[in-house]
Amino acid sequence: MHIHEGVLHPAVLAAGWAITAGGLSLGLKRLPTERIMHAALLAAGFFVASFIHFSVGAVNIHLTLNALVGLFLGWGAFPVIFTGLLLQALLFNYGGLTVLGVNTAVMAMPAVLFGLALHRWLAARNTPATVALAAQEAPSPSAPSARPCITVPALPVVVAVVATLLCSNLLYVLALAASGKEFYPIARVAFVASLPLMAVEAPITLLVLRSIAKARPAAFTLGKQTPCL
C-alpha cells in the first residue's frame, strides 16, 4: 500500500509529515537506546515477513503485519514502519521521500492504536502469574509442555487485524480523496482491491501469535504497562 510521489496535494503531504513527525518523536522517546538492536532486528524480521507473497487470481498480495508490529512495539511501530518504508524507497523505488510521511502515517497510526488495544486486552486476560511463569526460561526440553501458555483468543486478534487494515485503507483513500475529486474512482477501486488482504492476514496473524505464545511468550511483554520490546 504505497502512494506514489507526484500524486498527492502539498497540504496532504504536510499533514502526513506532521503526524509522522509526532509519532516518530514519541516512538523514539519511548525506545531506549540500549533496545535499538532488538527494534532493528524485529524491523528486519517484519520487513522480510512482508515479502511473503500470495497469489490471488492474477495478482500478488503481500502481508503487512501492521497489527503485529503495533502489538510487539507499541509506539515503536512508528520508527520501525518509517524505516521499513524508507528502505523500500531506497532499495525498490516504492513510494518516495515526500510521500514517506503520508505512507508512514497511513500504516503506523492504526498499527499503534489497535496494537496497543490488543496488548491491553491480552494483558487483562492473562494473569501476571501466568505471564511470569510463561516467560520463564524452560529448565529442560520437557518443560515447555508443562509451562502455562499465554492465552491468545481468536476474536480480539481477528478484530484488531481487520480494524488495523481497514483503518489503513480508509486513511489511504482519505489521502487520495483529499488530493482532489479526480481521485475518487481510484480510491474506491484501491479500497476494494485491498479487501482480500484482510481475509488472509487475520488468520495468519492469529496462527503466528499462537505459535509465538507457545515458543517465546516473553516477546509479548504483557507484564508491562505498554509494549517496550
Partner: protein, 259 residues
C-alpha cells in the same frame, strides 16, 4: 584492490555505484525532497514535461542497466495505468471522443492523466538515479548530516544490516518447503504453512536480536557507533546546490511562462 583502513572512512567523497560522488549525498536527499515538493505544486504540462526531460536520462547517466531502469519504471507505472483506466472517463465535462458502450473520454481527464504520468515518471527517474544508486549506509549518513535523530539513522543501518541475513534464513526454509512440494497459493489448508514461515522469520529475528545485543554489549556498545565525522566537502555541497537550484529555477520559469 586493498583499501587503507585508516584513511578510507575519512574520505570526504562518498561513493555512488563505484565512482566518486561529485555531489554530497545529503544534498541529493534534500534536493530530491525539494524537487518532489516543487513538482507537487506544478500544474502545467510544459513544466512537467521539462522535469521529465531533465530527469529521464539521469538513471542511465548514473550507470544503471537499462533493464533495471525499465523494470523499476514499469512497476511504478502500474499506478499510472490505474489512472489512465479511470480518470479520462470520470473527470471533466467536455467529451472529446466516445468509445464503444457509450464511454465518453473527457479532455480534462486526459490532461490530468498526462500531467500525473509526467510527474510520476519524473520522480521515479530521480528516485532511481539518486536514491536507488546510493547505499543505505550513504543515505543514513546523509540523513544524519541533515539532522535526522541519531536513533533513527542507527535503526535504519541496523535494520539494513540484519535484513539480508534474515532473508537468507527465510530463503533456506522456502527452498526446503519447495523441495517438499509446497507451492504458494491462496488455499485455506495452506495458511498454517504460511503462518509457520512468518513465525520462523520472527522467532529467528528475536533470537538473533538477543545474541547480537549480547555480543554488542560485550564489545562496549552503548547505543552509538564511534563513527568518523562525515564532514561534507564544500565543493560537493555547492555543486549540488547549484545543480538542483538551476533545475528548480527552470521548472519555475516554465511553470509561469507556459500558456
Amino acid at each position: 584492490m586493498s583499501v587503507n583502513p585508516t584513511t578510507a572512512p575519512l574520505k570526504p567523497t562518498a561513493t555512488v555505484a563505484g565512482s566518486p560522488a561529485r555531489i554530497h549525498p545529503a544534498v541529493h536527499v534534500a534536493g530530491l525532497f525539494v524537487c518532489s515538493l516543487a513538482l507537487s505544486f506544478t500544474h502545467t504540462l510544459w513544466a512537467a514535461a521539462y522535469a521529465l526531460a531533465v530527469s529521464l536520462p539521469l538513471p542511465f547517466l548514473k550507470g544503471l542497466p537499462w533493464r533495471t531502469v525499465l523494470g523499476r519504471m514499469a512497476l511504478g507505472n502500474l499506478f499510472v495505468l490505474f489512472i489512465w483506466l479511470t480518470m479520462p472517463f470520470t473527470l471533466g465535462q467536455h467529451p472529446v471522443a466516445t468509445l464503444p458502450f457509450g464511454l465518453a473520454v473527457y479532455a480534462e481527464g486526459l490532461t490530468k492523466s498526462l500531467l500525473l504520468t509526467l510527474k510520476i515518471n519524473c520522480l521515479l527517474a530521480l528516485g532511481l538515479a539518486f536514491l536507488h544508486t546510493a547505499s543505505v549506509h550513504e543515505t543514513a549518513k546523509a540523513l544524519a548530516t541533515l539532522g535526522v535523530p541519531h536513533k533513527l539513522t542507527l535503526l535504519l543501518l541496523l535494520t539494513a544490516r540484519h535484513m539480508h541475513s534474515l532473508w537468507a534464513s527465510y530463503r533456506t526454509v522456502c527452498n526446503a518447503a519447495a523441495l517438499r512440494g509446497f507451492t504458494p497459493c491462496l488455499r485455506l489448508r495452506k495458511l498454517p504453512k504460511f503462518a509457520a514461515l512468518v513465525t520462523f522469520v520472527l522467532l529467528k529475528s528475536l533470537e538473533r536480536a538477543d545474541n547480537v545485543d549480547a555480543a554488542m554489549r560485550l564489545r562496549g556498545f552503548t547505543g552509538a557507533f564511534p563513527a568518523p565525522l562525515f564532514a561534507p566537502a564544500k565543493q560537493h555541497v555547492v555543486r549540488g546546490v547549484v545543480a538542483y537550484g538551476l533545475a528548480l529555477v527552470g521548472l519555475l520559469v516554465i511553470e509561469h511562462l507556459a500558456p
